[in-house]
Amino acid sequence: MPRAAAPLLGFGRLLRRYGFAIAPEQISSFMQAVTLLGPRSMADIREAALATLAPPPDRRDEFEAHFQSHFYGNTSAVVEGDADEETRIKDNGGADDQRIEAEHSQEGGELSSALEQLSTRDFLRDDDRLTAFRRKLSTALPARRSFRTVRTHSRGKLDLRRSLREIVSADGDVPSPLLRRRQTVPRKLLLLIDVSGSMKLHTADYLKLAHAAVQGADRAEIFTFGTRLTRITTALRIRDRSQALARAAAQVDDWDGGTRMGPTLLAFLSVPRFSSFARGAAIVILSDALERGDHVELEMAMRRLSARAFRLSLATPLAGDPRFRPVTAALRAILPALDDLVDGSSLAGLTDFILSLARPAPAAATIWKRVS
């Protein structure tokens, strides 16, 4: 092997070490591509690497950083303008967040000790509950008719392809008509988890629930939002829960900060890949919906989500209190867009609610009007 090929091979190995799926044929294509391009400059090697090693757009900045460190020895380089910017939005009101974070840090000790006690006491029971939830989820989610067809014994259209095979093998005799019918598939499940300071007590439970959902449902997507929007579905696909949660935790940058629910949900909707996931899905937002400032954007985001979703639900831990009524301006504004406004204070309540999503229920506005 020529000596010049060694750094190229080394780059492939480096990427594999950091979890990029690089097949041997991609490495050989990479080397061929470099040869084809000359290479006349380092830019050619970079272009060849991007085209043949095909890093996922979400990990493009990571890929660039590895490229810089491997070929230039620059360990701190991160290239701007990557596609990852579509998944996160930055907070413009940073000053406000600092203030809010400061307020929370004062009561942090008390909060975290309470969390510790709760999770120690309920851990095993929660574990069993989540296991049961994971098992039941794929069959419990609301279903829709797919455009794919499956073989059936009754109520379907004639399956000419299979029937003809039967006719030929039985010398022209068809014992019974062979039919196909449109398949029924579970709807997508989309969980949007608020990780702001005011939800601190619940985020650990919500992430466990999200992990069980990703493991149990055919198609589930999980996002966290606070001041940014972060997609953590890929991390939660790891079967081992502690590993998955550790990886998800590392991806989220805005733990326990402020909330910009309206702008983050609008950012979610403005990325076609994400908003198309919301289409026809059962969407559950786990948040207290305590929007600071103006709620016009939140209202617009909720209306848009509701227009796309099969069912849009808000699970708020505040509803655990029997005195809770949706009286804040933000909640009043978004209530007409919601199909459900339910208690999100306990794992038991939440798992039962998600498993009941296929069952019809009166709109949230009707229920809460009756209550108040």
Partner: protein, 293 residues
């Protein structure tokens, strides 16, 4: 359509970019490199990006520069082998069986085989350009079905055996990333992510594509569209919408509307979502004024 030899066109990324420009498609260095590599390595080209950035147009431009026929396979949920590869003409087979009586008959003969786009491409005596559009809309099963085709340019028909390409086609796949594609598919392809162009390139594209739009108008439209795309819209405008906006504003201006007003009145061809329109409306005047400076 009689074509040129792909390797004589793709001598370098710059040559590819020049040929594409002659087909009225402006490609940046990265895209030209990806197209060059796909042609020279003989691999499919996977183009991903937001809707409206010109993925399908790129495929059309590649077909034009090579002087080849473009065969397009539009993907959708539920698409399967019968829609993409081949289908047997069952009615004709049944009739043939009935007519044959006691005689032997091969019901898997060519005359009963309906070739769908992928088989058409393989059987064509000349090299074709195949566009598999919006592969992300199809199911995982269909993606798996494509793997044999994409790696070896062949398909297996159980009744007939394997059919190999007479002339290896140039394959372009596009995806809007509405879902993640399988690793197996990605690694068989040369990959390129098409982003929105910067203002300068977009102005050049508008100049090239729109009818008689002045350069200043194209620049203003490109600048305003960049600002509008930065807002959290449900449907951010693509390049085609920007071109339409420039065209529509020019027509209105010629009809007597002064400049900022012409842009504002033509906004319906740029933003096609009612909520987006009401969201951007209060800011529109300022955005247009700033772009016109």
């Amino acid at each position: 359509m009689s074509g040129v030899n792909a390797e004589t066109v793709a001598t370098s990324p710059e040559a590819v970019a020049q040929h594409l420009a002659a087909s009225r498609y402006l490609a940046d260095d990265s895209l030209a490199t990806a197209i060059f590599l796909a042609i020279r390595l003989g691999k499919p080209l996977l183009l991903e990006g937001a809707p409206g950035v010109g993925k399908t147009e790129a495929a059309k431009a590649i077909a034009e520069l090579l002087g080849r026929d473009l065969v397009r396979l539009q993907c959708y949920e539920g698409i399967d082998a019968a829609h993409a590869l081949y289908e047997w003409n069952y009615q004709r087979q049944l009739l043939a069986i009935r007519h044959a009586g006691e005689h032997e008959i091969d019901i898997y003969d060519d005359r009963f085989l309906i070739a769908r786009p992928l088989l058409q491409v393989l059987r064509a005596p000349e090299q074709r350009v195949l566009l598999v559009d919006e592969i992300d809309r199809s199911d995982h099963e269909f993606e798996a079905l494509l793997l044999e085709f994409l790696s070896d340019f062949q398909i297996s028909i159980p009744e007939r055996g394997t059919i190999r390409a007479a002339a290896q086609p140039i394959v372009i796949l596009t995806s809007n990333r509405t879902r993640e594609l399988a690793e197996a598919l990605r690694r068989r392809c040369v990959y390129h992510w098409i982003g929105y162009p910067d203002a300068e390139r977009e102005a050049a594209i508008i100049m090239l594509r729109a009818g008689d739009v002045a350069e200043a108008t194209a620049r203003a439209v490109a600048a305003a569209v960049q600002t509008i795309r930065a807002r959290p819209l449900a449907k951010p405008p693509g390049i085609a919408e920007a071109v339409e906006w420039a065209n529509a504003a020019t027509i209105l201006e010629k009809g007597g509307s002064p400049w900022p007003e012409a842009f504002r009145r033509a906004i319906g061809v740029l933003i096609k979502d009612e909520e987006d329109l009401s969201y951007i409306a209060p800011e529109l005047g300022r955005i247009v004024d700033e772009a016109l400076v």
